[in-house]
């Protein structure tokens, strides 16, 4: 049943990448527990606007948990307390009347802050540009059923492909590593026959790019897996490492 709750928000405010940031407190009153977390911020922003104050900037678009645009730290947890849930799909029924909620942006060297809770995740695009694809031009493909793919492989590839690129893995990792993100793509394509020819090279290029963009190393903390809203498994990191070793020792390219 829906009810109304009152909350205190402590929100990170920062006007620009170079400005000094600070926490500010806001009251969120009469919040219906059926609201989503983002709808709750909408309500606060409407009030701020009418009080001639600057509303809180935050990224969002689909509000269905699929575009990967939303996300911030809620009480120290990426996307908040619920498992397997993006911030836009987190509902206020998981909070209690009187709660104080601390809201901060993703913090990582590779994600530069733009304003308030909005960060630049362009480094993820760079990693994909380095090799997260199969080199095939439009028009040249053979019949889709020419190569059967074991159902199990297709399903595992889909598990990896479910990544929405939100950055929660990086934000949750003590080393700000992008291994889960990168390995999800490497693994998806390595599992499919179409992706095999470039598998080793792909792993190498993407990992090189990941390092260059300033992401940290993986030291098996598993926080990424725990906080991933799509519950992507660290099995993919192991698979990527295998491809990487093949590439590093088996090919001319470094």
């Amino acid at each position: 049943m829906s009810k109304s709750i009152n909350l205190t928000l402590k929100v990170w405010r920062q006007d620009s990448p170079f400005a000094k940031g600070r926490f500010e407190s806001y009251k969120a009153q009469n919040i219906s527990t059926d609201m989503s977390f983002l709808e709750m911020i909408d309500v606060v922003n409407e009030q701020l606007t009418l009080q001639h104050k600057d509303p809180i900037s935050f990224d969002h678009d689909c509000r269905e948990g699929i575009c990967g645009m939303c996300g911030c730290m809620v009480n120290g947890q990426a996307h908040g307390p619920e498992k397997g849930t993006t911030l836009c799909q987190l509902h206020m029924r998981h909070f209690s009347n009187g709660d104080t909620i601390v809201i901060e942006p993703w913090r990582s060297r590779a994600f530069k802050l733009i304003k308030d809770l909005t960060v630049d995740r362009g480094a993820f695009d760079k990693i994909i540009q380095a090799g997260g694809y199969i080199s095939v031009n439009a028009g040249g493909a053979q019949d889709a059923n020419a190569i059967p793919v074991p159902q199990q492989n297709a399903e595992q590839a889909m598990d990896a492909a479910a990544c929405i690129g939100c950055g929660a893995c990086v934000a949750s990792c003590p080393n700000a590593s992008a291994m889960l993100f990168t390995s999800a793509k490497v693994s998806q394509l390595a599992l499919l026959p179409q992706g095999r020819p470039e598998a080793a090279r792909r792993a190498l290029k993407m990992i090189q790019c990941m390092d260059k963009e300033g992401f940290g190393n993986c030291t098996n903390e598993r926080e990424c897996e725990a906080r991933c809203p799509k519950e992507i498994s660290i099995i993919h990191i192991a698979r990527m490492n295998r491809e990487y070793i093949k590439a590093a020792f088996g090919s001319e390219e470094t």
Binding site: S2, D15, S16, S32, D34, M35, S36, L38, E39, D42, V43, E46, L48, T49, L50, K53, D54, P55, S57, D61, C62, R63, E64, G65, I66, C67, G68, M69, T85, Q89, H91, R93, I114, K115, T118, D120, R121, G122, F124, D125, I128, G131, G132, Y133, I134, A138, G139, A141, Q142, D143, A144, P148, Q151, E155, M158, A161, G165, Q188, L192, Q194
Partner: protein
């Protein structure tokens, strides 16, 4: 003026091959001399930008989000159609063509639809080659499911995330070209105007959403793939940033707008639950494969669903349409849901919902099978509503979902503004008055991978293109106009927020130009929109400044355009004195309350030309000729 769709002559099935042969080719060495702007990186824009770059053109790609991978296409759930006939159940290119023309209630251009059906198969081949993990059966071959408006299984899918996987496929192709230096990517940019020089589209003005700077970009041709305008209703299943701005600005620069009143209301969405609500969530149509739609037989029956015995349930779709049952097209399913609720048989707190029940399917196939097919959708439903659909039926209600109308394009996908091409949901071309499920993904990718790469070459070969630069007067003038408008928005400093006004506009449109329309309501709506628009320009409050990341300002610009565009929609609906597909005018219905077309007077595309802010738009007709299918009263009984 009568519009010429430039449909090639000859038999339907040979038109596209013949046309491709007749189109002039740009020689490979010359392609690199042409610059092409692609606005939008959804399925249509992403695939177009990648493919044009593969061919050798220099491409600049623009999107609003921080990455091309986040375009609204990502949210498509259910699937994509193709005429592969893998299940051997009688499908063919002809049948996909016929179903699409009929589903669109005979208001689409035959030749375009046939081409769409023809290239549909290449899309699936392309997707598999890109590594899209489509669902497969135990033998390792591709699986299919059924969608509304068809009696064959022709829908390919990747769990409930088909749009995501197809978009990530296009995004990977695009990323490859970015890596190769053939595409320059401009993210967090919003196109605010088209630049016209010597009567041709030669560039765009965008706002850099991070710095607030206006930027001009020049090119030899501009491709718009900016999606649909469903957010004119405020509440819709579209992503929050979906807008009409790019298309509407192009309209004001000379591109005609076609059939703006053709909007699709999707029957299976999670019902509205509060005034704070910011958007609506779709539950994929694929659910109607196994879910049964019903309401209590007796109006006002407030018992919980499991307390209502079988004999007191009304499975209205199955009863009324025995051959298609729960899989009737969307417009029919939506209207019937509304009809049941109007009779007081709606369920839930608001009475604006019907049941979608999986009880029988779970009994028949077991929970595991149902979970495998729809697990993520059930999960999403539970997250939003806190109800478990394995135990109790879902509650659903229609919501605005898709816009069939869009910028008018000819067979080459070029608008009436030379050099401006329009792809995907942003154009009007293939779905007539109602789109069948799983056909938008197909159309976006057909346009991007397989149509524009050919037709744009024909334009570039045949056209005298003078050198332009982004410092020319045409660009500076356009930039100045854009700046004036932004300054005005920030200076009003009134008492109502942008969202508040947008929400009010949405209600006007939903009440008068939504699932059912009538002349009186449409006339009323026009006045209300004009009033609201006047109020917006006097009383809106847009905080912050121009030279910063300012999301309120972004929304204000979009809502300002919706407020103008809404009136065009209403005028178009008023001008079409018939019912067809998603356009249901209560004055024109059969005895069984089905949409009643008037083929004698309205078998045409209504296309509107901008004539000035204080002048009525001018109407242009493109008559639709059906040489290959017979116009019939659609029947799904």
């Amino acid at each position: 003026m009568q519009l010429d769709g430039k449909v090639p002559s000859g038999p339907l099935a040979q038109k596209w091959d013949k046309h491709r042969f007749e189109l002039k080719l740009v020689n490979p060495a010359n392609k690199r001399k042409f610059d092409i702007i692609v606005v939008g990186t959804g399925l249509a824009g992403g695939s177009a930008a990648a493919t044009l770059a593969e061919l050798g053109y220099n491409v600049k790609a623009f999107c609003i989000q921080d990455s091309p991978r986040r375009a609204h296409s990502i949210a498509a759930q259910g699937g994509i159609n193709a005429a592969k006939n893998y299940p051997n159940d009688g499908d063919s290119i002809w049948r996909l063509f016929y179903d699409t023309v009929k589903g669109g209630d005979f208001r689409a251009r035959e030749a375009n639809v046939h081409r769409l059906a023809q290239v549909s198969n290449n899309i699936i081949d392309q997707g598999v080659a890109q590594g899209i993990p489509f669902a497969r059966d135990y033998g390792g071959l591709l699986a299919n499911r059924s969608f509304g408006g068809a009696q064959v299984s022709r829908t390919f899918y990747a769990r409930g995330q088909t749009g995501q996987q197809l978009l990530l496929g296009a995004y990977s192709a695009l990323s490859r070209q970015v890596g190769l230096g053939k595409v320059t990517l401009f993210t967090r940019r919003e196109m605010i105007d088209v630049v016209v020089a010597n009567g041709k589209a030669r560039g765009i003005v965008v706002r850099n959403l991070v710095t607030g700077q206006l930027e001009s970009h020049a090119a030899d041709a501009v491709v718009l793939a900016t999606g649909g305008y469903g957010n004119v209703f405020f509440l819709s299943t579209n992503a929050m940033a979906s807008n009409v701005t790019a298309a509407y600005r192009a309209y004001k620069r000379g591109a005609f707008f076609a059939n703006p009143c053709f909007t699709q209301i999707h029957p299976t969405c999670i019902p509205v639950h509060g005034t704070y609500q910011s958007k609506l969530t779709l539950m994929s149509e694929s659910l109607r494969n196994d879910g049964r739609v019903w309401v209590p037989k007796n109006p006002g029956d407030k018992r919980a669903p499991h307390q209502i015995p079988e004999s007191e349930r009304h499975y209205y779709l199955e009863e009324k349409y025995p051959s298609f049952g729960n899989l009737v097209p969307r417009d029919v399913a939506s209207r019937n849901a509304k009809e049941q609720c109007d009779q007081g048989k709606g369920v839930g707190d608001t009475g604006l919902a019907v049941y979608l029940d999986f009880g029988d399917a779970i009994k028949r196939d077991g929970r595991d099978v149902i979970e495998k097919k729809y697990g993520n959708l059930f999960h999403m439903y539970e997250k939003i509503t806190a109800d478990n659909p394995y135990q109790a039926p879902m509650m659903i209600y229609p919501a605005v979902h898709y816009t069939m109308g869009g910028l008018w394009v000819d067979y080459n996908l070029m608008s009436t503004l030379p050099g401006l091409f329009v792809l995907g949901e942003a154009n009007f071309s293939d779905h007539g008055a109602n789109r069948l499920g799983a056909s938008a993904l197909m159309q976006g990718l057909a346009d991007g991978y397989f149509v524009i790469p050919y037709t744009i070459g024909g334009y570039l070969c045949d056209t005298q293109l003078d050198a332009v630069s982004d410092s020319d007067a045409a660009f500076k003038d356009t930039e100045r106009q854009v700046k004036q408008r932004i300054d005005k928005l920030l200076s009003i400093n009134g008492k109502r927020t942008v969202d508040d006004i947008h929400r009010q506009l949405g209600l006007i449109m939903w009440d008068h130009c939504g699932m059912a329309r009538n002349n009186e309501g449409l006339d009323k709506a026009r006045g209300k929109i004009q009033q609201l628009r006047a109020e917006f320009w006097e009383n809106v409050k847009v905080p912050g400044s121009v030279s910063q990341f300012n999301q309120s300002l972004e929304r204000a610009g979009r809502v300002a355009d919706f407020l103008e565009f809404a009136e065009l929609m209403v005028s178009d609906a008023r001008a079409r004195q018939e019912s067809c597909g998603g356009h249901f005018n209560e004055g024109f219905q059969s005895e069984e309350n089905e949409a009643l077309r008037d083929d004698e007077n309205y078998c045409h595309v209504s296309s509107w030309e901008y004539k000035g802010d204080d002048t009525e738009p001018e109407f242009h007709k493109e008559p639709l000729e059906f040489e290959n299918v017979k116009l019939t009263q659609r029947s799904y009984k």
